[in-house]
Symmetry: D2
Subunit: 422 residues, 4 copies
């Protein structure tokens, strides 16, 4: 495979890539370059990081490819900083950290958060990521073993895992900064450079120096702001629900024997229930392809291409849903802390059934309630620890006197109710 | 149609949109809001501004939707500035300028520059833009007439047209800035704010105040830099050629009676030659749809979805071309000022035919020469005029003593030669 | 007076100024231009906004002139936004708001916070600002009366005063953003544009729309971050204390009859105790100059020029203090929440006296304790009110569930202890 | 000396400084830290990089201290880049490069360009820089010898000198970027990161890779823009001329036996003619101080403090000039390519003499002509060489087809004529 042109090539060997967020990024070398060149990785160029968020923030069309390369850049910054502070990270560990961060999102399919349950029968992207990593490890003769150990937290040096996966990992630092940048919600932009300068290691754990407490407070506030202004934006939720209903209806129609346009790989997932074991053990083969191969053949393009075609379906439910998404006539959405009154929902469903001349059961595609949850800071997850000068460690929720602990660690549930404008 | 959620909604009526480049943008109102909400306009969300450039600059995935909204923002800045300087622009003219800039690119299809000749038989995007504008004007009962007059330079006030289409129009100001921003080639970023502050009107022409000469020099240098570093980047050209060959091969196979996967609208263009008249007079109808309707049904998603499926075609030429594009194993490309030696090209073709076990005719899909041309500043086009304090006008190529006139206005031709790495 | 060249002049009349923070700023016109051209206002070009902070953050050399022009820019943004929302602000009120914000800091002398007590005997900058405004109002024949009423909160429309002076006034918005920008502490940068977009008026009060709650949270967190990382930075405090001690010693020596180099106006303040009444009633005249005139004759230059000369004083206390400041060999400083043990301070004083061969009384110039206080959010001051959709108003400390109310409104006292490195 | 607080201190040893332009800068260590801590270097905190430019661009109050630290940052970037490309730079050479760039501007006094001839009798800042370097080299026991050799181009590796002093040296890269940043003339901002990435070494010369040609074109255009919009701005020139005349008049009055307020060191330079030899051989001593010591005692503060006091001088010429500067009522200025008609100048002088009731000789302080020259690119100086892929070297003026060679290398002379508004 030839990647000589993936980036503005300079006459010297190190390849460089232009990133709107960080400027120049040194591209990986060796095994990590091979991974980036692999078609399964190149696929990430066609998967938007934020799914349908671009329906609200037109700039949010950045891809998982960009995010993963950005996280790779940050992890190298962090490695360099941690080494400066006297902690050894071997070249093999450096390479494995690179591999792990490059592959941490490899199991994401198109519109991942929305379609995990409707298209993939609940097989999570984490399960698929691990299955793909194992598969690649076989292809690359075990060269990914240390990376997989670090990813799974089975490596003996804990802080390496924490750089990949914790409440202050390079994944989050990049996505918060990048999502703010591309949505144009500039207040979410975090000072990744300063946060990384504040990182150090204590008893094999990734911790933050006491001076960094204000930066961490700001990071948590920025994260919360992004949740409410972007990730859980009403219109984004409403768009995602529409897509979920579209896929659900398409699967139902196919299940009932109807024939629907779709590219072959997507057809497979629409017409076959799938189990995690099919990814892990590759025990089923469809037209010569395993679940992993089929999965890697679909991206955002297949979904939109199909939805566009389905606008002309003779099933009124499917065609209406598809037109609503493509023409941006979305469902209305109300949000509240408590669950919605069932009578109102039932009443609305009846009206829609009558108005659209469909059954009340089918009206559920247009009138429904759902809920979403979100932790500002999850105390059960890997914690953000502050290292005081006297070597005491303190969780950020205790170290910060301004942030309200109980709120930070509270599971925020929002109920929402969707229905069409009649 | 409901656009209430297209942007972060504020309790007051004016809708606002977040743009990574300019920050907050006031959304259009009235007829211009209706245009933005039209499905044909929403389609631009799925057409990348820079086609396949993201194969080299991963950030270059911004869409024509974003660009057009940005140009709309700039034209409002320019209107406000020109009014401040004492030139009257009526509310009707203001609205028409908005309409004209919103629709100036409406005729762009997917990978426009690449596919104009292979998919659309040479019907240019300008022709299609005008056809669509006329169609919309009918739908909106003549409300777009002034905009169309301005667009076609048939309106009596010349400078209004020049804001839409000239060597210093708002289209160029936005795309240069935006393309620089998203590619990460930050040196191409131009000071749109300052340039707009320097605009004024003289004898009904859009001109630049003498103080702005350095800004214009910088604009022309930045534009040139973007040409060589982005628009005419070797790898971008090579990717585009691959896509052109793919479409050409697909059409040939279909012409030969083979059946190929494709969404219905794309199928139509692959299997039918098309003429400009079909867009203008809508004299042909295919499965109930006119050429304009079919055209508006295709976008980037259809191309990529089809190319992905065609990777499994049993035509070795098509499947190889498609795999090369999707896996980013592009053709090698050499560029030079003179045309290439035919013997070398023929020799290369023979080797490829032999190596791939295909005919020499088919080898032309992989081995070929092409050329591209580019004007840094086209003296035959609308000129950039500098207004001196004594009211003298001077073309920038004369007003600037540092820019080399003969080079600026010279048509630069680059020949390139593509061939596979065997 | 001629200000034609204060800014890059454009051929049209509106003068424009380049600001590194906001870009182009339209300069004031009419009476407000006259105010900017007045020598007392031009004096602000020589008074650093952050006093000695540049000893820690070398970029923090921006002046009060820049800040005041920036706040003037923001108030015009706010006026335009509030008008868009349907609230009337008359041209006279607009001009008066401009005057009020331009003059709100006019009473600041050099190193204001540090020297208010040592050089000016506790006459506050607010008192002097008002005295100067009154004086100018006389000169300009009462044209500043409405501005003064707004400034003093004696105008009948409350929200106008709140734009000038409240916990979310344009003064704070500018200085937080500007101080972050010039110190390079980029995390303190606030989204002034978004905050201003969220402002509205409710029952004649300036309030924030509910959507703006996250921005306000972020503003308060950024402000707190600036306090701890910049305004109350240990080394800044230590530098300021050194300057306070220098002025105190100089005054003492002069009081004892010694002659010290100083420019005439500074000499006056060093050798005469001064009372607020001298500014207000201008009842004393010194060599033909009133207190206001003398005050307006001193700026940062006089202080540094004198301190440099005093390095050669034959008073060992004064010369040592001055050398320490100029050569940046500052006093060590310790900070803690509780007051310091007196015995340790006394012991340190003795050692210094012995080491420097000075009296214990004189050693107090080098060994001393002080305290500083700071409110993150002062509930007794003008509040930041959030306007909910149902028209309910709520204080931000209640509206925000993440910010800890009790901490926000707690008066933080920090004690510090300074002493030389022997 | 204690510099522990010069920057936000992190618990690890490497000191870090916040720079508004580049973000975090690692502070020097070892001998280079000692140099930064030296009072003669700290003095640069009080010398504005752009002299009186802040009279036009209020943000342009950045200091030579900031610039030198910025250039130090860039030279470390360049060293790292050049090493990556396989060229060896020893640790001793790295340190010497740091020393050389830190000290390259150490001989600049207050308002250097303006006062070199009026206050310093033509002893250039280059001469003084070298004298101070030699003096420091003595103090630091020869540790600066390699740095001095590099600075003087007496070191055997030519490209090291070119990093310090050439048409593409780190000095220029920093000052162009920094001056653009602080003036707010954002179009002058150059991509230092990209230019440095393009540097390499060829036959011991610093050259630019062929790919960098567009960046260099942009650099030269940006530089030219800064010249005309900032460095040679009419109002800046007019302010500087006023200061030159003030110093000239003050020296004349003192020469005539009048006594004028001034701090002692400035007094010395006002009352004594000075020769380069006094700096080099330190052969004269004034009140125990050598020329170098006296020189290091003056900065911008002394000039402004004195000019303010001189506003009350009983010499009408001096007091008028000083008031004009402090109150920003500057001389009018006309610029043209040819010299001015002598009759007009004479006539103007007569009118001023009559109007101000002064002699025609004294009127020359207010009415005079001057000229300024500027090379966009000086072909006699160290050239900017482009390295082509075939190892050919070409001067940028030949390598670039868009830049007009003859103009680039033409010495631009502008004549200007100053006179008061009567």
């Amino acid at each position: 495979m030839d990647l000589t042109c993936i980036m503005t090539s300079f006459p010297h060997k190190q390849k460089i890539l232009n990133d709107p967020v960080y400027g120049f990024i040194d591209m990986p070398t060796g095994i990590n370059l091979e991974i980036v060149e692999h078609p399964w990785f190149q696929r990430l160029r066609h998967i938007r990081q934020l799914g349908l968020t671009f329906m609200v923030y037109p700039g949010a069309i950045h891809t998982r490819f960009q995010h993963v390369i950005g996280a790779y850049y940050l992890i190298n910054q962090a490695i360099s900083e941690i080494r400066k502070k006297g902690f050894d990270i071997s070249p093999a560990e450096e390479e494995a950290l690179g591999t792990a961060i490059l592959l941490h999102d490899i199991g994401h399919g198109p519109f991942s958060h929305a379609l995990e349950y409707s298209l993939l029968d609940g097989v999570s992207h984490e399960v698929i990521s691990q299955a793909i990593m194992q598969k690649l490890n076989g292809m690359y003769e075990g060269k990914l073993s240390m990376a997989i150990d670090i990813f799974r937290n089975q490596y003996h040096r804990l802080f390496l895992h924490q750089l990949i996966s914790s409440q202050l990992d390079m994944d989050r630092l990049d996505y918060l900064k990048r999502d703010s940048f591309f949505t144009g919600v500039s207040e979410g932009i975090i000072g990744t450079e300063r946060i990384i300068k504040m990182l150090t290691v204590h008893n094999d754990n990734l911790v933050v120096e006491a001076k960094g407490i204000y930066s961490i407070e700001k990071f948590l506030i920025a994260r919360r702001l992004m949740y409410w202004q972007v990730y859980l934006h009403k219109t984004v939720l409403s768009s995602e629900q529409l897509l979920i209903k579209i896929i659900k209806r398409a699967r139902q129609l196919i299940h009932n024997g109807q024939s629907l346009f779709a590219p072959p790989a997507l057809s497979y997932f629409l017409s076959h229930p799938i189990a995690a074991s099919e990814f892990i053990s590759e025990n089923k083969v469809f037209e010569g392809k395993t679940a992993i191969e089929l999965f890697n053949a679909i991206d955002d393009n297949d979904i939109f291409t199909s939805v566009k075609v389905w606008q002309s379906s003779n099933d009124i439910v499917l065609s209406t849903l598809c037109k609503m998404l493509m023409e941006r006539r979305l469902l209305k959405i109300e949000m509240q802390r408590n669950s919605f009154n069932k009578d109102i929902v039932t009443q609305q469903k009846k009206e829609v059934a009558q108005h659209m001349k469909i059954s009340e059961e089918d009206a559920e595609y247009f009138v429904f309630t759902e809920k979403t949850t979100h932790y500002a800071y999850n105390p059960d997850d890997e914690r953000i620890n502050i290292l005081h000068k006297n070597d005491d460690l303190q969780d950020i929720s205790e170290a910060s006197d301004i942030l309200n602990i109980s709120v930070l660690s509270k599971n925020v549930i929002k109920h929402f109710f969707c229905y069409p404008k009649l």
